[in-house]
């Protein structure tokens, strides 16, 4: 019989075990007791912001080069404002924000041209950059966009790293004083260790905002349900221009998409305009781009509003840009 083994010692042991279970359950209940449930969502305004990548001593620089060879016009325009060395120093970690929005071939000009990407990466490395990251959060499938546009292969072959928009690379951003871009997912991964930002944008017609140029290009840093920003596109672009203060912007008007933008899709949408604009003032660059697109500034309210917000000047003449013709 078991009975004979069940003595006082065994009983006390059993008592202790039962007590342990009771104490454990009680302790767990005490430690994990939550009288409130979850706090009301969306109240936190934590997150990241993009640092100011601009160089104070390079304020208001602009140059324009005419020609059809993107590498040559880029180099000529850069040389006119002191060369890339003035903007990228030895050991710098550069982010190139391209426009890779659509999975269409480079010839359609809906995206930053791979020749320009390659040239820009090379110029950065020549100036001593330690690393170059090429990134965008495109509209179409990201991997297809980077490969079909040729941006991915161009970037990799010239030594840059391509960063696709993975979910874990986004952080919430709030633009100080902004109405719309508050606590919004930003493609922050590429910027984690960067200290220079260069925007590379084509000049395109855009049905909603009138034009897609360097300031609209920052839209590609947003994630989440960014399409709702089209309800107030001009305010959004203005806030984007306040969010990102680049070291330099490169606006490629070698070919301009005059209509059917921002996707294009046909050569008849394009016009050879043979112009490369390099500037530290995105507002001035876009104002110049508007002339290639044959749009009045009054049709592009975001340019005026970005100027009013202090991002730059729409009067690019005041920067007395050097105009270099016939670069070949």
């Amino acid at each position: 019989m078991e009975k004979s083994n069940f003595n006082r010692r065994a009983f006390i042991l059993r008592l202790l075990k039962a007590g342990g279970v009771i104490a454990g359950a009680g302790a767990a209940g005490f430690l994990f007791y939550d009288p409130n449930g979850l706090p009301r969502p969306g109240q936190e305004m934590a997150g990241v912001y993009l640092p100011d990548f601009s160089l104070p001593e390079q304020k208001g620089k602009m140059a324009v080069a005419h020609g059809s060879d993107r590498e040559k016009t880029l180099r000529a325009a850069l040389d006119a404002i002191g060369g890339m060395k003035a903007f990228v120093q030895k050991g710098d970690r550069v982010v190139l924000k391209v426009n890779a929005a659509f999975a269409s071939p480079a010839a359609i000009s809906a995206t930053t041209h791979p020749d320009l990407v390659e040239a820009a990466v090379r110029v950065c490395f020549e100036a001593g950059a330690a690393s170059v990251i090429v990134t965008d959060n495109p509209i179409n499938d990201p991997a297809s966009c980077f490969s079909l546009t040729g941006i991915g292969p161009a970037a990799r072959s010239s030594g840059a790293e391509v960063m696709l928009p993975r979910e874990d690379l986004f952080r919430p951003v709030t633009v100080p004083g902004a109405k719309l871009i508050r606590n919004w997912p930003l493609l922050y991964g590429p910027f984690a260790s960067a200290n220079k930002l260069i925007g590379l944008a084509p000049i395109k017609d855009h049905h909603r905002s009138g034009a897609s140029m360097t300031m609209k290009n920052w839209y590609g840093l947003l994630g989440g349900r960014r399409n709702i920003f089209h309800q107030d596109i001009h305010t959004t672009i203005t806030e984007l221009a306040q969010m990102a203060t680049p070291t330099l912007v490169i606006l490629d008007g070698t070919v301009t998409m005059m209509q059917n933008g921002p996707t294009g899709g046909s050569f008849s949408d394009l016009k050879p305009t043979q112009t490369m604009i390099v500037s530290t003032d995105p507002v001035a660059a876009d104002a110049f781009g508007a002339t290639l697109l044959e749009r009045k500034l009054s049709e592009l309210p975001h340019i005026g509003r970005a100027e009013a917000a202090g991002v730059g000047t729409a009067d690019y003449h005041s920067l007395s840009p050097e105009i270099l013709s016939n670069i070949s």
Partner: protein, 604 residues
């Protein structure tokens, strides 16, 4: 080296090769990403897929002719495919071995005895082939290829493509760079795991009782030249060692069931008397060549399929009751032809770079179309990209035709017939922001990849507020009323004066699809608002004739309302994918006007 060791090496090699083919099936620039790897090879070696499509279509599409090699080798060697090559069989064998390895010899021999239920797989095969051959009867026109439901090669491809690999996608592994989703993948995974776990009960459960491909090999192996058997010269001591690891449950120590033997050859070395042999001679205790199928069973299986397929079609899904949400990939055949070719392998779903091809569920493609490819424009990284023809070029049976970019876009030799259309977009004016809520948007129009765009816009200046003017001074207006400061300063708001007209209202500026800007500014009665306080508007310019007090100012918002250009829309779904109304999209594609079904034509 023992023959069983050679077999294990072969099984391991083909299993790894199979996984390698699944792994490389990603579009990309890296060396391992679909660089001419014959990723469909296992499907092409599969004689059930070949026979099924041969019966339904009368042809063997391209690589499907590999099945001839498999059949020829089976006629020579027996069921080598099951025991030496089939990756699904290898998985079953591995799990069965692990689960039963510690059991006693007699217990293992008991579980490996031939079982009456092993006939079931033959009935499954008969039913599937009967369904596929239904159209050969003079009074029936409906044939349906359903072999892919249980054919192990499509089943394994489907399971790996839609369940296993998605776990690796987006996890930093060199597969798909972004996470992928597959609607209804749970059921596919549940069946896959059930098939694997069944080995804990009986080894090679799926192979013995379910596999219609194994059944087909079983029927062919009666003609095989070489077979397992016993030689006369050695005695049997009834030790049952030969049955201990018998994979096929074919009674090697008794009258051997040739049609069940998967050539695992485990009996060869375990027989202490060396009685077992693989030769052309007749087995000492005789052979059973064919499964014990009754005429009644045969007829019932065939009749079941003969009743099931036409019953499924009573839903009218192939006639007037076609599902408008059933959008097939570009190049897919007309529905009846499509169903007679698709083996549900999921290759198109894996290769699709935007992850929009999904296995159809019951409510999308009906019983017949379960796990066939359907486009879902809500899931995935984009709509169907118009420069992509990956799905048609990987489809092993040409259920999705291997089209060229030219054919897809309707250029070059295909200019006359125009681009392939997967469906057509419809704007839901009750949900669309500019139509229903007077909010600017037009995301769909911007993203439309067609040139000229298949979404044009009607520009209207919708009236939001009317306010009496207190004072007009240059380009400012002092109003009676209250506005939210800055509310009308976004660049989208305009001011008009009641009774003076608003310029060219309602003109469809996108009619030519190129969104000509600028014309409206000269239009007359409206001026853009650049700033506002509670009661004062600042306008972009002065009025030509200044309004007088007590006239009424109107605040209007400029809206571009999307309208589908029906003749240009290709149904790519990029508009639906991008629509900011995220729940039920305000622009949605249905199979209307799709190129593949003439009776779905919408336009004159």
């Amino acid at each position: 080296m023992k023959i069983t060791t050679v077999r294990r090496i072969s099984q391991t090699f083909f299993l790894l090769l199979f996984f390698w083919f699944c792994f490389v099936m990603t579009l990309g620039e890296r060396w391992h990403q679909l660089r001419g790897w014959p990723v469909n090879w296992f499907l092409q070696l599969d004689p059930l897929a070949a026979l099924g499509t041969l019966v339904t279509t009368g042809t063997l599409f391209r690589g499907m002719v590999w099945a001839v090699v498999t059949i020829a080798l089976t006629a020579l060697l027996g069921r080598f495919f099951c025991g030496w090559l089939c990756p699904f069989g290898t998985l079953h064998q591995l799990i069965g071995y692990l689960a039963h390895r510690k059991e006693k010899t007699l217990a293992r021999a008991a579980v490996n005895q031939p079982h009456r239920a092993q006939r079931i797989k033959y009935y499954i095969l008969i039913a599937m082939l009967a369904g596929a051959a239904l159209h050969l009867l003079p009074f029936a026109d409906s044939a349906s290829l359903q072999t892919g439901l249980l054919d192990p090669i499509p089943l394994l491809y489907r399971s790996v493509n839609l369940i296993l690999l998605p776990f690796a996608d987006g996890a930093g592994l060199p597969v798909s760079p972004l996470p992928r989703f597959y609607e209804g993948a749970f059921l596919i995974g549940a069946i896959f795991l059930t098939a694997l776990f069944a080995n804990l009960w009986i080894p090679r459960f799926y192979c013995r009782f379910v596999c219609p491909l194994g059944a087909l090999f079983g029927l062919i192996s009666r003609y095989s030249l070489f077979r397992m058997g016993q030689r006369e010269s050695a005695k049997c001591t009834q030790c049952h060692m030969c049955e201990k690891n018998c994979e096929g449950a074919c009674a090697p120590g008794d009258t051997i069931r040739i049609h069940e033997c998967v050539l695992c050859m485990n009996c060869l070395h375990t027989c202490r008397q060396a009685r077992m042999t693989y030769s052309t001679a007749l087995s000492a205790q005789g052979e059973i060549l064919s499964p014990d199928l009754s005429r009644r069973g045969f007829l019932i299986s065939a009749a079941a399929a003969g009743a099931a397929i036409p019953s499924m079609r009573l839903s009218g899904a192939l006639a007037a009751n076609w599902n408008p949400n059933l959008i097939r990939p570009p190049g897919a055949l007309a529905e009846a032809d499509f169903l007679s070719r698709c083996i549900k392998c999921g290759q198109c779903m894996r290769i699709c770079p935007t992850n929009i091809i999904h296995p159809a569920g019951l409510f999308e493609a009906g019983w017949e179309g379960i796990w066939t490819p359907i486009l879902n424009y809500r899931i995935g990284t984009s709509g169907c990209q118009k420069n992509c023809i990956a799905c048609g070029n990987i489809c092993p049976t040409a259920a999705i035709r291997p089209i060229t970019i030219e054919e897809r876009l309707g250029t070059g030799a295909f200019a006359e017939q125009g681009p392939l259309k997967t469906g057509m977009a419809f704007v839901d004016r009750g949900r669309c922001l500019p139509w229903a809520m007077n909010l600017p948007c037009i995301v769909c129009q911007e993203n439309c990849p067609v040139s000229p765009k298949a979404i044009v816009t009607d520009t209207v200046y919708a009236l939001l507020h009317e306010m009496e003017i207190i004072e007009a001074d240059g380009n400012t207006l002092e109003l009676k009323g209250k506005l939210e400061p800055g509310q009308a300063a976004t660049g989208d708001y305009f001011c008009t004066i009641r009774g003076r007209g608003i310029g060219k209202e309602g003109e469809s500026e996108g009619e030519t699809g190129n969104g000509q800007h600028g014309a409206e500014e000269e239009g007359g009665g409206r001026i853009r608002i650049t700033a506002n306080t509670e009661s004062r508007l600042t306008l972009e310019r002065k009025w030509d004739s200044s309004p007088s007090p007590r006239e009424t100012a109107q605040i209007r918002i400029r809206l571009q309302r999307p309208v589908i250009a029906v003749d240009r829309c290709i149904g790519c779904g990029i508009c639906e994918h991008e629509c900011p109304v995220r729940g039920l999209r305000a622009v949605r594609v249905t199979a209307e006007n799709e190129s593949r079904n003439e009776e779905h034509l919408l336009l004159l």
